[in-house]
Symmetry: C2
Subunit: 314 residues, 2 copies
C-alpha cells in the first residue's frame, strides 16, 4: 500500500457517497485517518458499527479540525450551513471539497465562509445508486466513473492536483471544468433525466383509467426502468432542482420542445420522423457502452439468466 | 416432458420475440413441430443455423399451412398484410395470435382476413430487451413476465384457454383484458416511457452547449438508463406509436401537464411539492420489486461488484 495522501480526511455526511468514500479510502489507505460527522446520532452510530472511520462526532467542526481534506457529503442545500459551522476549525492549507450534483451554487455557498489559506475545490463524482444511507455505500462505486472538479480561476493548482490524485486513487477518471459548464452538462446527463423519471412515475400513479396494480404488473414494458432513478433520495434531488434551476429549466425547455415535435409527428402519422430519431438514439447507447460507462448485457443484466443466455448481440 | 400442446406451431417473424418463443417451445416440447417464416432470406438462414425450427420458408402461407397455432411475430404495422397472405392456407380450427405491443389496431387489421372457423386471440407478452434479431432471443425471456390476451366478445373460450396454457408453459403469467384497455395500460407502462426516452436522448444529441462526448462520459448520472430503451428496434416502435396514437397522445398530454407543474414548482422554488412527489415515487418502485417485476440490486445489478458489495438495502 502506498503512503497515505492525506493525514486526516473528514467526511461531513455519511450516506451513499460518504460511506462509499470511507470504504474506498480505508481499503487503499488513501488517508491515514478518517473523521466522520453526521447530524443524526442514529446514522453516526450505524457508521461506527460499520467501522467506517476512526473518529465520530455529531459536530462537523470537531471532525474538520486538523483535517487536511474535508469533504462535504451532504445535500446541496446544506453546504452553506455546514461551511459556516466548520469555518472556525479549518486548519491552514486544508482543502475543502464536496460531492454535490450542482457546482455553481455550492461554490457560492461555501466560498464566503472559508478563511484565507484554505483551498476550495468543489467536486462531483458522477456515480451513485438509487439507495441511500451508510449501509448502501460500497468501495467500488467510483471505479471507472468520472469525477468532475470545478476549481475557480484563483484556486491554487497544487490543491487541484492533490484532489485529482485523491479521486484517481478512489478509482475515478477526473475531468476539470467550470462550475457553470458542469451545471449545464449535468442538467442534461442527470438532472432532467431524473425529473422526467419522477414525473412519469407520478403521472402513472395519478391515472384513473389504469390501476396502480396494472402499472406495477406490466412495468416490464419500459416503465420499471424509470422507477429506479425515481427511487433516488428525495432530499438530495429536491435540492438539486432548487439549486440548478436555470440550467434545468433551460434544458427542460428543449426537452419539451422536442417532445411537442414528436407528439405532432405521431398525430400526423409521420413515421419517417419517428424512425429517423429512433435510429439515431440507438447509436448513442452504443457509444456509451464503447466508452465503458454501461453494460452490454441485455436489460442491464438485471435478469442474469437472460443476459447470459442471450449472447447480448444485435 | 408433457405431451405437446400443439402439433405444429408457425412463427411468422423470427426476431427477439419469435426466436425466444422458438427456444422456449423447443426446450419444453410445447409444440411437436415449429415452422418458421420470415421475409428476409438472410434472417431465415440464420434461424436455420441456430436450429430454431423444423421447417423454414420465406412464404408465411407455407409456414402457416397445417399449423394449429400461428403466431405473428412481426411489427404491428405488418400484421394486416401477413394475415392477408396466410388467410388462404389456414386450417379450420387453427388459432391465430400475435405478440404486438398494440392490440386494438392488430385485431382490426387481422380479423377481416380470417376465414370462418379460425380463432383470433391477440396477445402481448410484456417482455423484451433492447436487442433485436434471431440471435438476441433466449428461452427464459417470458419467465415470470405477464402476457396479456385480448380476445373479442365472440371469441371461442376454448381457443383462449389453449393460448393461455401455451403462454403459461412458456413461463408467463396470463391476464385477459379488452384490446382497448390493453392499449391504455401499455401507453403508460411502455409506450410513453419509450417515447420520452427516445426524446431525451435526441435532445441530448442536439444540444450545442454540451458536446456529445460529454453526454456520453457523464451519462452515469442517470441519462444512460434512458438509452437502453431508446436503443430498441426502430421499426417496431415507429409502428407502436402510429398504431396506438390515441392512447399515446392522451397519456402524453397528462405527462406534459404534470411536467409543466413540476417546472413551475422549480421556477418558484416550491421544495415541498418536489419532495412530496419524490417520496411517493420511491414507494412505487418498492411495489414493483415486491411483485417480482424488478431486481432489488442497486443500479439494476449492472455493476455486479457494486451490487454484491452494497448489500442493496436502504
Amino acid at each position: 500500500m502506498a503512503e497515505p495522501q492525506f493525514e486526516r480526511l473528514a467526511l461531513i455526511g455519511i450516506g451513499l457517497i460518504g460511506s462509499s468514500l470511507a470504504r474506498a479510502v480505508r481499503r487503499d489507505g488513501i488517508a491515514r485517518e478518517i473523521a466522520i460527522a453526521t447530524r443524526s446520532q442514529a446514522t453516526l452510530d450505524r457508521a461506527r458499527e460499520l467501522g467506517l472511520g476512526d473518529f465520530y462526532s455529531t459536530d462537523p467542526a470537531e471532525a474538520a479540525s486538523n483535517a487536511d481534506l474535508v469533504i462535504l457529503c451532504v445535500p446541496v442545500g446544506a453546504c452553506g450551513a455546514v461551511a459556516e459551522q466548520i469555518s472556525g476549525s479549518l486548519k491552514p492549507g486544508a482543502i475543502v471539497s464536496d460531492v454535490g450534483s450542482v457546482k455553481g451554487s455550492v461554490v457560492r455557498q461555501i466560498a464566503p465562509h472559508l478563511p484565507q489559506g484554505v483551498h476550495l475545490v468543489a467536486a462531483h463524482p458522477v456515480a451513485g445508486t438509487e439507495y441511500s444511507g451508510p449501509d448502501s455505500g460500497f468501495a467500488t462505486l467510483f471505479q471507472g466513473r468520472w469525477c468532475i472538479l470545478t476549481p475557480q480561476a484563483d484556486t491554487v493548482p497544487d490543491a487541484v492536483a492533490r484532489l485529482r490524485a485523491f479521486w484517481e486513487a478512489c478509482g475515478s477518471n477526473v475531468e476539470v471544468m467550470t462550475p457553470e459548464h458542469h451545471d449545464l452538462v449535468l442538467a442534461i446527463t442527470s438532472h432532467v433525466p431524473h425529473l422526467i423519471a419522477y414525473n412519469i412515475v407520478g403521472t402513472a400513479d395519478d391515472l384513473e383509467s389504469v390501476t396502480q396494480s396494472e402499472v406495477i404488473k406490466f412495468s416490464a414494458g419500459g416503465f420499471r426502468d424509470f422507477t429506479r432513478i425515481a427511487a433516488s433520495d428525495p432530499t438530495m434531488w429536491r435540492d438539486v432542482f432548487l439549486h440548478n434551476k436555470d440550467a434545468v429549466l433551460e434544458t427542460l425547455g428543449r426537452f419539451s420542445e422536442d417532445l411537442s415535435a414528436l407528439q405532432r409527428a405521431i398525430r400526423w402519422g409521420e413515421g419517417d420522423t419517428l424512425f429517423e430519431l429512433f435510429t439515431r438514439t440507438r447509436a448513442i447507447r452504443r457509444s456509451i457502452i464503447d466508452m465503458g460507462q454501461e453494460t452490454t448485457s441485455a436489460n442491464f443484466g438485471r435478469d442474469a439468466q437472460g443476459g447470459e443466455d442471450s449472447g447480448s448481440k444485435r
